[in-house]
Symmetry: C2
Subunit: 217 residues, 2 copies
DNA sequence: GGAAAATATTAATCTAGTTCAAGATCAATC
DNA sequence: GATTGATCTTGAACTAGATTAATATTTTCC
């Protein structure tokens, strides 16, 4: 386990400064421990699963997947932090997900249909990911149906999260969304530049600044 | 297959009226044909699956599930049209999904955790639904893993749809969302009162009126 | 077929959040 | 440790969409 702190100073007013630690923590976790929380795996299943994963390291800012390219891998975050965003016709990035240790990420649509992805997935901090290639995933699901169960549960949970976000987006003000985001993902504000948090919340960085100011004053 | 037309008149200006048919169509479809589009089922699997489903008829306006109650069933729409909505603290209904023939609906979160549901699911037209009780579903998944696969695929697809809606919500204007909605679900505008479409789009009925007027003038 | 209830429209006014533009602060690099 | 590019903040002017309230239209139901 490595840690890497960077001190950021924020001016509150002419006389006060607040310091915040932006943490680039690399937490090494075992992917199997995540999976066996939901299903029970035999030794054979564990071994096969591990054998088909491709480990990869990403430096901060590097891409795991670029928009326009076909997605060949489902991505599991082992350590660090990634974000997935969509670039619209005006060139604005719309962040749709952050993912830290233990999360699956990537473009399911492109992975399924093998059409070019509309999303970019990028490391926000030095990260370690595990790639699960589409063909190997299909093989895995064929041979060991317990993984059908595992991914069924993953997708089912993710669906619940996405429904909640949708309600959030429509029913709450930007300020409420920011509060809820901080409550739900306290770790992210230390990894993620504010402009991406703003994007995730569906507002401009300027407006997020205003919300933050209003609070601290 | 029954059909039931109601003629609606809309005033465009003092001299012109346009009529629209609001269709309350009952289309009877076989649930198995939906499932076997994604997985292959043996005779035994088909029979068991059908045997655990509870058919139910709903009149327009009736509830399949009320907020505050625990969800005991996953719901498959056989015929008609349902909507699922969330009522916020101010008492505003926020529609999160419409479901017609072939769709699964209901509150996955409440179904999984057996906590009271925050959603209400209600018939927008006379409908026929099939209830899949939670305990029977668990039994089904235990005995026939092919259904793990089926629901994995369902949830995976639904997740893609939800991600798209999230992007839609943040990146597009209300007018664009309405256009896309009409393109994607042309059938719904004939089932669904405009105020619920407005809610689904995340706008007020008044603003939807404005958008519609701007178009026809 | 008529009255009441639900749904849709219109218009005036208001506001949460955007846009633009400039300045302040921070991080990376040589 | 000075320079440069990225991130963050501030403020003024603007706009998409909300709110309120009144009216019109449609549907339900007796």
């Amino acid at each position: 386990m490595q840690k890497n702190f960077k001190i950021l100073k924020y001016k509150l007013n002419d006389f006060n400064y607040v310091t915040k630690k932006r943490i680039f923590a690399i937490m090494d976790r075992n992917i199997l421990s995540h999976i066996t929380r939901h299903v029970t795996l035999s030794k054979e299943e564990q071994d096969f699963f591990i054998s088909i994963l491709l480990p990869q390291k990403l430096k901060q800012g590097e891409f795991a997947q670029k928009a326009g390219e076909i997605t060949y891998n489902f991505i599991h975050v082992n350590a660090g932090c990634l974000m997935t965003y969509f670039t619209d016709k005006e060139g604005n990035d719309q962040v749709i997900q952050f993912a830290t240790s233990g999360w699956w990420t990537g473009d399911l649509h492109s992975l399924t249909t093998q059409q070019p992805s509309i999303y970019t997935t990028r490391a926000l901090a030095d990260s370690e990911i595990l790639l699960l290639p589409k063909v190997r995933m299909e093989e895995l699901l064929e041979r060991f149906p317990v993984f059908e169960r595992y991914f069924r549960i993953m997708f089912q949970n993710s669906l619940v999260t996405h429904q909640n976000r949708l309600i959030e987006a429509f029913a709450n003000t930007a300020e409420e969304r920011y509060s809820n985001f901080q409550k739900k993902y306290p770790q992210f504000e230390q990894f993620v530049p504010l402009k991406y948090i703003a994007s995730y919340l569906g507002i401009t960085p300027e407006f997020l600044s205003k919300i933050r100011r209003k609070r601290t004053v």
